[in-house]
Symmetry: C2
Subunit: 259 residues, 2 copies
Amino acid sequence: MPAVAQLKTNPARTIFMAQADAPAGSRTAELSCSSCNLRELCLPGGCLEDLERVENIVYARRRVKRGETLFNAGDEFNAVYAVRSGFFKTCVVDGEGREQVTGFFMGGELLGMDGLGSGSHNGAAVALEDSEICVMPFALIEKMAREIPALQRHLHAVLAREIVRDHGVMMLLGSMRAEERLAAFLTNLSKRFVRRGYSSSEFHLRMTREEIGSYLGLKLETVSRLFSLFQKEGLIEVQQKHVRILDAGGLEQILKQGN
Amino acid sequence: MPAVAQLKTNPARTIFMAQADAPAGSRTAELSCSSCNLRELCLPGGCLEDLERVENIVYARRRVKRGETLFNAGDEFNAVYAVRSGFFKTCVVDGEGREQVTGFFMGGELLGMDGLGSGSHNGAAVALEDSEICVMPFALIEKMAREIPALQRHLHAVLAREIVRDHGVMMLLGSMRAEERLAAFLTNLSKRFVRRGYSSSEFHLRMTREEIGSYLGLKLETVSRLFSLFQKEGLIEVQQKHVRILDAGGLEQILKQGN
DNA sequence: CGACCTTTTGAACGTATTCAACCGATGTGG
DNA sequence: CCACATCGGTTGAATACGTTCAAAAGGTCG
């Protein structure tokens, strides 16, 4: 399989390094996964010996400023990315220029797995705030997955989880009413924040109303109205991008109501 | 890795074989992928030597009658399935009992990749007509993927394609109008039929209006109305489940209109 | 043949969208 | 540092699209 051999002669490394801001002297320390508190979100929980090897998957760090793209639709696929800090959206654009936000990604989450089939990315990933990501060259992942079953298993699990997540979004878009969609969205965000040690009840939305709307299949005005409605009902407190959840149970109740 | 060793002592084989209707005497011939005309849809296009090994992935065949489930949400995950003949829908059900059809699968397509992350299936797969599927135990796939890079690559491609497909559905559900959704649906079906050697312009829908509606995020009455509308506009001819596409360009034009 | 399921079609309704105006926050250049 | 332009967000009123409810016809299968 030429993929790994390719890597050695691939200009990718220099490209990555040029974009990575890590001081050359402290590279290994900087790139260490074992010292990263997001470790258990990205990496398989295997034996320590394997972990040492797996750490080397992170090839480089890369900073992506707010508004910049990590990758664009059509870009050659050669790595998946773990969000180290910051916030991303992924979106697809169809032939007619319609844009659909397909997901939001925060620390410890992996993106870029599309394009693994075709060799080029199917969608784009855009930073919604200044972010830092870990670059994991896919050729290397594949090679190590062949040697370390725990990693292979983990890779498959990551891909499958993405599929399950997408099915959840299809459920949301296909059979929920507007209020239910926003309630599900807020509940989901809250749960993901709390897993990362942030408050479950108070957070800053990194995305605009329009981006939320695109993700939820609603217009930005509808999203705005729903925020106001939820506030009026005492479920949340909103001002601009700052959200405080006052009644998490109430939000989940909206979902339970069915239709 | 215990997964493969497990397989030998796993009662799965007998379970599979009990459900498979293949005559015992002709098993190897029956299970041969090289004689299957759907081969290039399921298997990697690699060298012949590897292909021989890969063929052994198909562990058994299994017939699933119309209305029966191939697997249910929550069922233990231990294999992925290739549709050999027939037609399936996959769907997820949320806590509130809402059902969402997440896809339709025809000959040569693979299903069951959800549940690979959690160990149990996230959704259910139901036969929409009497069908036959090839059972590919996942432990075996994982083992062989470690040894045959072409298969590994293929597996990843299959998973990634599923993700890309789901993103397409999210686009459809999130930013298309009802007419566009049905036009996209018919166009997609047509393209898949023609790849399998069937007519691109005339086919039988295996699913009900309600199932189409669930998949497209519409009510069954809306789907029915749209069929009638398309017929009135001379785009298609419908009677019940039989559809003939009269103006494929016109259907694609609906998509291009955007909104 | 009869029971049941699927599909079609109509009419009334409701939810989310569209169009529009306005407000507030943010950021840039004079 | 303020003025102004721009972008994001909120809110109202009218509209449109898809849904709901209902009835009836057409298929299918025991």
